[in-house]
């Protein structure tokens, strides 16, 4: 009964808090748009970002029943969407319940409400907000619908299929990628993992299981993965919606193989032979929701989940672990006052105000401290850097330019090379690249016969140059790291740079550490629109070294020799 009263309380609170919005939804309100024009607006609930148990509570649905459709737990695995559980249906059910039991008699009302799978709240907060139906405003949410579903079920199927030791070993064997988690300890024994870890595991699990798990299991897991990735897009078209539905359909076609092989296990690793998974049913409501309220990724719980850290965990660290609630409140209150004071000071003193604005311009770390909703770290924009460098005259910037861009990608290298100069022969030995000299000669001869800007093709018959060809330079400078920055494929916003390694054999890395890239070898094709089209236009490589040939004078070596040479050449 305590839980029932809690639910009552929440609905009553929401009723009070949302009163102004309810009025605005009913009769409208004048609001100014970004251009300053007044608009007559209505405020129905578009989305309520929330976890599944809380969603059922808000929809005043009892346990084991979907909050957005009429499906009960036995129908959670059905390959179609059940009839939506609209506000009209629920309100009609409430009337029916009220006619049989008095809401003030909690126990009798609870028993009666349960017959309709309701949770016995008799005044839902959304009852008098026009155009606001729980089946619509309880929007699908990435973290709870997809990432947790993956971790709780798909990932467990994969672990059960391969066995924990084998799957842990496979994750261990993968070459680490800079900036991403490398699961040295494996994945089978991880506890208390975050949404980020869910995504890190999703990254490689398909590749890890693809060779050995039964074909149908791989197809089912893969289909759900496709579903997850496609739903996370920032732009979704009709065609994408069809692909999303067909991915989900594909899963339902093949899901029986997961039960057949006994991979779906419950506690104590006993196989389960049913699909009573609420999140599986919720997936059915993703496709209908997108045309109604827009792409799913915008209703992310990241901000609200992160608030738990800002508003609860951080203040707790400053406390003495007694009387949490008053201490947290007092600290938040202090912070609020400090912010107010700072703002007042900056308004009063224009110089101080100027200071904060220029500080924010430099790298914008200040912004993040003030705004707790900004979670992402600030990203260096190499595209802007490269444009600045490209537009400045060659004499004013050190050549070669360390930051440059080509079509949809920007590159950045450290100012100092990792090896200042090394002869081609030495590089051949140290990197173990026997054909380096021949490859260079090949490159030069192509460069001579074509324009400097032409795209270098790959392969094309036996190499003409011999291993001992004379080159117009003897030394090279070598970089071990290269930063690649790309833009988001739909929104064209800048993504954090990815660091690629191409380093010498050293320590445990007996063969060196090389990352792989997609290279354009056909000037007529444009990545990413081309995909791996024709498979000849774009070929994959592992980068073995990044270098630049340098001219060196043996005489007059007062300045670093290669700069003198390059300066004159330019």
């Amino acid at each position: 009964m305590k839980g029932v009263l809690e639910d009552h309380l929440i609905h009553q609170c929401l009723d009070i808090v949302l009163e102004p919005l309810k009025r605005a939804a009913q009769v409208g309100v004048m609001l100014s748009n970004p251009l300053g024009h007044n608009r007559y607006c209505f405020t129905p609930i578009a989305s309520y970002i929330i976890d599944t148990p809380e969603a059922t509570m808000l929809a005043i649905i009892g346990g084991k029943t979907s909050p957005v459709t009429m499906a009960m737990y036995k129908q959670f695995g059905d390959p179609f969407q059940h009839e939506p559980c609209t506000s009209l249906t629920t309100l009609a059910q409430l009337v029916a319940v009220a006619s049989k039991a008095d809401p003030s008699n909690l126990e009798a009302y609870f028993c009666e409400a349960q017959k309709f799978h309701l949770n016995s709240v008799h005044i839902p907060f959304w009852r008098n907000i026009p155009m606001s139906c729980p089946s619509r405003f309880l929007t699908p949410e990435m973290l709870h619908y997809f990432h947790k579903e993956f971790w709780d079920h798909n990932c467990k199927w994969c672990i059960n299929e391969l066995g924990p030791e084998e799957i842990d070993f496979r994750f261990l064997v993968l070459q680490p990628v800079t900036g991403f988690h490398h699961f040295k300890e494996g994945i089978s024994s991880l506890k208390q993992v975050t949404g980020q870890t869910h995504r890190d595991v999703q990254q490689s699990i398909i590749g890890v299981i693809a060779g050995s798990a039964p074909c149908n299991v791989v197809i089912a897991v893969c289909a759900l993965m496709d579903f997850r990735y496609r739903v996370q897009a920032y732009h979704i078209t009709e065609k994408d919606l069809k692909l999303i539905s067909s991915a989900l359909h594909e899963f339902h076609l093949h899901k029986h193989s997961i039960l057949d092989t006994g991979l779906h296990c419950g506690t104590a690793n006993k196989p389960i032979d049913n699909w009573y998974i609420p999140k599986l049913e919720l997936m059915q409501s993703v496709v209908p929701s997108i045309p109604r309220v827009g792409v799913t990724i915008q209703w992310s719980a990241d901000v609200t989940e992160h608030a738990h850290i800002d508003q609860i965990k951080d203040p707790v660290r400053g406390s003495n672990n007694h009387n949490y609630d008053p201490q947290i409140c007092r600290q938040l209150d202090h912070l609020e006052k400090c912010r107010g004071f700072k703002l007042a000071m900056s308004l009063k003193d224009p110089e101080l105000g100027l200071d904060t604005s220029t500080g924010a311009m430099d790298g914008e770390p200040g912004d993040e401290e003030n705004d707790p909703s900004v979670i992402s770290r600030c990203v260096t924009d190499y595209f802007a850097c490269s444009l600045r460098l490209a537009s400045s005259t060659p004499d004013t910037v050190p050549l070669p330019r360390r930051t440059f861009s080509a079509s949809c990608i920007a590159f950045n290298l450290a100012y100092d090379p990792h090896i200042r100069h090394i002869s081609v022969d030495n590089a051949t030995k140290q990197f173990g690249l026997l054909d380096l000299r021949a490859a260079l000669a090949n490159f030069l001869s192509y460069e001579r016969s074509h324009s400097v800007d032409s795209v270098h093709p790959i392969g094309g018959g036996p190499r003409k140059a011999a291993e001992n060809t004379e080159l117009p330079f003897e030394d090279i400078q070598v970089w071990f790291k290269l930063c690649l920055q790309t833009t988001e494929i739909h929104t064209h916003s800048i993504l954090p740079a990815q660091t690629l390694l191409a380093s010498l054999p050293e320590g445990d890395w007996k063969y060196g550490c090389y990352d792989s890239v997609v290279v354009n070898v056909d000037g007529t094709k444009i990545w990413p629109a081309s995909g791996l089209q024709g498979l000849l236009s774009i070929i994959l490589f592992c980068i073995s070294t990044i270098f630049i040939p340098c001219l060196i004078r043996t005489l007059n070596c007062t300045t670093p020799p290669h700069y003198a040479a390059l300066g004159q050449a330019a």
């Binding site: 070993f169 990735y229 060659p394 490159f443």
Partner: protein
């Protein structure tokens, strides 16, 4: 070291980084996962196929996952897996951008 450059001549690589790359062939596309399977390209002599290209021809990072068979070779480590494995999956699930670029 030999002073080889003719200093008054225009030097075309003054503003160009080069890279030595080794080539992978796409051998097939696994039907169950729709992921490309790659193998290192080799010369008829067994030597790996390497080329020198300008860095500006690079288009994207590619994540490779060794194609494990039924059981994994216990001698593999994260340090040597990219060297000793013969076939790789081109991992389209590496991130959303890779996924959308490779599934167009």
């Amino acid at each position: 070291m030999r002073p080889l450059g003719k200093l008054h001549e225009r030097w075309p690589w003054a503003d160009c980084f080069l890279t030595y790359v080794q080539h992978f062939d796409v051998i097939c596309c696994k039907p169950s996962t729709q992921m490309q399977v790659l193998r290192r390209a080799i010369h008829s002599g067994g030597q790996r196929l390497g080329e020198v290209i300008p860095v500006s021809q690079i288009r994207a990072y590619a994540n490779l996952i060794p194609r494990f068979g039924q059981r994994t070779d216990s001698r593999l480590m994260s340090f040597n897996s990219s060297e000793h494995c013969h076939k790789f999956f081109l991992n389209k699930y590496f991130d959303k951008n890779t996924y959308f670029s490779l599934t167009l």
